[in-house]
């Protein structure tokens, strides 16, 4: 059963494109979630949180960390607590603000993330291996237009 086949509308091209975009994202995400679970016994929100910290060597305040997460639906505070308990993340005081703190990866967290990131990269390369290099570049460019248009629209509506 193919959802896309069942669309009927006056402007089917844009709707079909949207359903296909959603389907592709979900298929790749499902693959990543299942491999993270099988190979590293972890979840996508945990991986995402560690990825954001890996890109911020000085650590992040909790609100910055929440804002940077790519995956929605994870409980950032709960995941952080878990990772701290496992010795993968540490809390640091913020100078001049007794109530705030930053979080960053520990050395062990960095090692564990590097191992997962290497595998993750290969899964993503595999996910797009049905495309020629030229196709990847074209897709990236066209999605860039979609992104720019959407960001412009959302900035205007604020």
């Amino acid at each position: 059963m193919d959802m896309e086949a069942r669309v009927h509308s006056e402007h089917p091209e844009a709707l079909r494109l949207w359903l296909r975009l959603l389907t592709c994202t979900q298929l790749v995400e499902k693959e990543v979630r299942s491999r993270l679970r099988e190979q590293f016994d972890t979840t996508l929100p945990r991986f995402d949180l560690m990825a954001q910290l890996e890109r911020a060597p000085d650590g992040l305040k909790m609100n910055e960390l929440s804002r940077r997460m790519m995956v929605t639906g994870g409980n950032v505070t709960g995941i952080t607590d878990q990772l701290v308990a496992e010795g993968l993340v540490e809390r640091m005081d913020v100078e001049g603000d007794r109530r705030a703190y930053r979080v960053r990866l520990t050395a062990r967290g960095r090692r564990q993330f590097a191992e997962m990131a290497q595998e993750h990269e290969q899964w993503i390369v595999d996910a797009f291996s049905g495309l020629a290099e030229r196709d990847i570049a074209t897709l990236h460019r066209l999605l860039g237009k979609v992104k720019a248009h959407a960001q412009q629209g959302q900035a205007e509506s604020v």
Copy 2:
């Protein structure tokens, strides 16, 4: 702050494409969620559930309905109960199986969905209006390759 700018890897093209695909999907989905809330005081899982029923005039069993949902994370049974209470969906007995039932849109549910679907289509047309017709066709074709490759991979791993 742009997530894509912070990727460093040996195969950056596929990773950048994946992050951009995820970002575009999230931007469009965010726009649709916010408009559904503002204009119809409803949610994306409710809209999605009604969309699946609209395409199945004979109704669907609950397991079929769950399988067809495009949006993950919604509680299909809970949403169905709500929609039944609001007179938008009705339960029908399944002949020969006393414990099973099908659900379908009521006449009122069909009218309400048609109104939302018309607006929804315009939001999607607007979301992709940064692209020329030719670009939409190219994007649809290239994402078709990604989808076919992903579905093939997941079928093999079953």
